[in-house]
Every structure is written in C-alpha cells, then in structure tokens.
C-alpha cells in the first residue's frame, strides 16, 4: 500500500484557494509527510488526515513555502498531548530554528522528537515496510528530493496446497521468503507450487523544487510515480531557469527519460488561475501526467 495525498500544490504565494507544498504519504502502517508549507495543519483538518499517524516528516529545503507550517504543526502536536515519537528530516539549520521558537514560547514538546539533519544523498529511513532515500536537486539553495520504496512483499501462501503437503506452520515464513519445502520423506516441493507472487513493491519520488536537470532522470529511473514541480507553462522556460524552477514540458521530459509509470505535476505559479493547460502541455511529452490536485489521493 503506497499512496500520495496532496495538501498543497501551489508555489510561493497562496492563491486561488491553493496552498503551499505539502504531501501525505500513506504506507502499510503509518503516514509520512513531505514538506509542510504554511497552513498545512489546517489542510490536515480539511482532509481529515489522522494527525496521530504521522510519524516521519521530511523537509526538502528552507524556502518558506515548504516549511513555514512545520513549527505550527509541531506545536499543535504538543497541545494535543501527543506522546508517540516524531522524526524530522531536513536541512541542518532547521534544528536551531525550531529550538529557538520553542524557547521563545517557553514550550517543551511532550513527545520524543528526533531531528535527522540531511547531509548527503542516500538512505534516510529503513522502516519495516519501506525505505526513504534522499537525493540532491539543483535549486537556489540546498534542496533534497525523496524516494520512498516499498520493501519486497512476501510471497502469498497457496493455503490449500500448503495443507495438502502438510507444511508445518513454523515453516510458513520461509515459504513466503521463497524457499522450497523438503517434506519428512525427503521429497522437495517447489516453492512455486506452495506460494504465488505478491504485488510488486511500489515506489514514489518527490522531486521537490528543481531547475530542469537531466541527471534527475537517472535518479528516478523506473520509479512508479514521480512528482516533479512545474511552476511555469512551457513558454516561460527562461524565467523558470532564472528562478531554478521547471516548466510543464521539462517535468514531462524527465518522466519520459526516466521511464516512470506516471507523473504528477505541481508547485504552480500564483500567476495562473486555470491549470488545464499545464496538464495538456505536459501530456504532449508524457501522456500519463496528472495535475497534483489538493485533497486528491493518488494510489501508486
């Protein structure tokens, strides 16, 4: 189970009811958050996200539209009496900033709060059902993208066959991991007879804010779903480059080169009220593109 819910899809200035960047990632057993722009805690209420299931928050970079909602969320967790641990991953200076704001408010977080400064690309989190890695993007200030990959799903037991061959329950786990079964009389029973393949583990990449960068296609190669910012329509390629942002067609070009299943575009400029043309432009290059719509959940 891997899904992405969009809480904010706009770039720097809120506009037309659109909010700054934040996404909720649903895994088999918990929620993660990628970025936390201003108002994210209100969006969480609007879309009835279960706050208490969010255990890991990842911040891509320290432009305000990606993290100004974080301190409010951490404070609200405290006021709500949260006790389960919370992990935050982001650029190192975030730690000082949060400490200063808590000190000024004379607030102590009642829950275990662990900050993991992001220093280099690689593995950030190795959880039971998934991993999260980070990679550098090219932006005006240091900026990180994130990839979440489900772990290999165990094979499914063909329970009728398993019973027919009288496999003991204590061996089930080894069957699920692909082993053949050697019965009491020494007969080898092929694993393929006793189990079948489970769904393929899924992956999602959040490419954060970035200038058009072909290197990125290598990093997100073969990922099932990628989110790539698309601040501007294609005609504004020059302005996009100046500001270390991307256009619709550039986002789509990365998706195409990377051979991904599907592309979500977002981080739309506040200059544009209507977004249909963003989607159409991107689809000219990569047909399986969708706008990242606030309140919508995309199954990977």
């Amino acid at each position: 189970m891997l899904a992405v819910t969009i809480l904010g899809n706009n770039s720097a200035i809120p506009a037309f009811g659109r909010h700054p960047t934040s996404q909720i990632i649903t895994t088999a057993d918990e929620l993660l958050m990628f970025d936390c722009g201003e108002g994210t805690q209100i969006q969480i209420l609007n879309y009835r996200i279960k706050r208490s299931r969010i255990n890991h928050i990842f911040i891509s970079h320290l432009h305000g539209d990606h993290y100004f909602g974080l301190i409010g969320l951490l404070s609200s967790f405290a006021l709500l009496g949260r006790i389960q641990p919370l992990h935050l991953y982001g650029p190192a200076p975030l730690q000082e900033l949060i400490a200063l704001q808590l000190k000024l408010a004379d607030t102590k977080l009642p829950y275990e709060f662990t900050f993991h400064p992001i220093k280099e690309q690689g593995l950030l989190l190795d959880a039971k059902h998934y991993t999260v890695e980070c990679f550098e993007t090219k932006h005006r200030i240091p900026c990180w993208g994130f990839i979440i990959r489900e772990k290999r799903n165990l094979r499914k037991l063909n329970i009728d066959q398993v019973r027919t061959y009288e496999v003991p329950v204590t061996f089930y786990n080894r069957l699920q991991n692909g082993e053949d079964y050697i019965s009491a009389d020494g007969t080898s029973i092929k694993n393929e007879l006793l189990t079948s393949e489970n769904s393929k583990p899924k992956s999602y990449a959040f490419c954060a804010d970035t200038i058009y960068d072909e290197q990125l296609a290598k990093i997100v190669e073969q990922i099932d779903l990628i989110y790539h910012e698309s601040t501007y329509p294609a005609v504004f390629a020059e302005k996009a480059a100046e500001r270390f942002h991307s256009t619709t067609k550039q986002a789509a070009a990365i998706a195409l080169k990377a051979n991904v299943q599907k592309l979500l575009i977002g981080h739309f400029s506040a200059k544009f009220e209507h977004l249909e043309s963003f989607e159409l432009e991107a689809r000219e290059i990569f047909s399986n593109t969708e706008l990242a719509r606030e309140g919508t959940t995309y199954l990977v």
Copy 2:
C-alpha cells in the same frame, strides 16, 4: 474612521474552520495588523483585504498562534514586489528569528523594513490620524496589548457662515482648530458660529492574551471598543487561570469595570464548536458584547 476586521478568532489549535489570532485595523488612511497567526495571509486573500495598505504590524507575544503567519506574510510581500516601508512592533527576539529565516532562504526584503522592539508600556506610534500605545498583560510569557486612539478631529466649517463673514481661506485651518475670527473691522466672530463639532475621536483596545486582571480595567477605561480574550466558558475559571487565560464572564467584568462602550470576545478554545453560550454568558455581565466573528468588520 476606525474599524476592526477579525481574521482569526481561535486559540492555539485551528478548529471548526476557525483560525488563530489576527485582526486588521482600518484607519482613515491605512491599515494596521494586530497579531498574525498561521494562515493569516490566506485569510487576507479570503476577505479581500488590500495587502499593500498594511503599513504597521503589531505582535502581542511569541506564542505561535499569534505570530507563526508573520514570516510567510513578510516573504509574500517580498515576492509581490512590495516597495513601500513596513513597520513591525513586537517582542525583541522576533528580530533575530526573522533575520535567521530570511538568511536561510537566502532572501532579502526589497522593501524598507523597520523593527521596533517593544520594551515598556507607552506610545509606539504617532501617526497623522491616530496613535498606538502598548500595555503589559499578565500571561505565561511577556505579552503586550495595544490601544489605538484616533486623533482629535478638526471642527467642521459652516461654509455658508464662513463666506458670509468673508473669512479668508488661509484662516480655515485656524477655524478648524477652534479659533475665533477677527474681521478687518476688528469685530470678533465666535468660532461656534463659523464651525461645528466633528465626530468624537474613537478608540480601540486589543487586550491580547491575559489572565483575569482587574488592573486592565484601569488601562482600558472609557475606551469605545475593547477586544478581550475569552478562551473558556465561565465554568472553566480555574483552568483559565492555570493557563493564564480568561473566561467569558471575566472578559465581561473587565468591560463593565472599564465602562467601555462595547466588548468583543475571541480566542476561543478549540474544544468548543458552538460559541453561542460564550456570548450569552458574557452578556449576563456586560450586555453590549459580541463574538469576534471571522470576516466581520466592527465599526468603532
């Protein structure tokens, strides 16, 4: 002209569509802001407040629900290309915090930005049409309330009489300031004949967050409109005191003692969805009480 528009009326955690504290004060020639909780810039859009007319922002204290929206607003002003000066008044550490956040985002404000640390009670701003003073409230951390007073309005010219007595235009300003007119032949014309009284200057006090404190009644005595927090219903007086907050009836008791014209109550606890009883309770003590409703403008 003095009016108060409520952008946020809730206490610490956003709930039931209610937002943390922020108010816009409309004067004859510009807008002021009192407090700036998270999401204030979105509320400004929702209620079509003219951002560019806000020249002075006052922050009562450094609990997040009163200022977490400030850095986002300052950043958006920058992105929108604001050039006119902006003045910020608040607890001294706010300056360091803003400087740090701007540095991390590699952002320079393109407008003249002046920070006025609040150190003691007294006059903060002496503008053309009004003054703003601050006073200390009793809260868990240092906290300031604000009083805005319109300046004395000039007397209105009775233009027919003015012409009859052939008062020269150059003397109009002295008439408006209450002087008698001595005509060319030495006759004294009483000012009351030539002018009439203008509307009385109005005043508004924002009492910020505070425990019940009778001293406050002296400070806001005879003010036309006061806003007093009322986080809890009357029955929660003990909890209110523990948390340095007030109840409905305590807010009303201050209004009564201070002999003000009208009371607005707000900063409602996120525990309560329905607020009718807040208003009813306060009115038992002070009848001219209203709930501070988001999006509503109260003429002073």
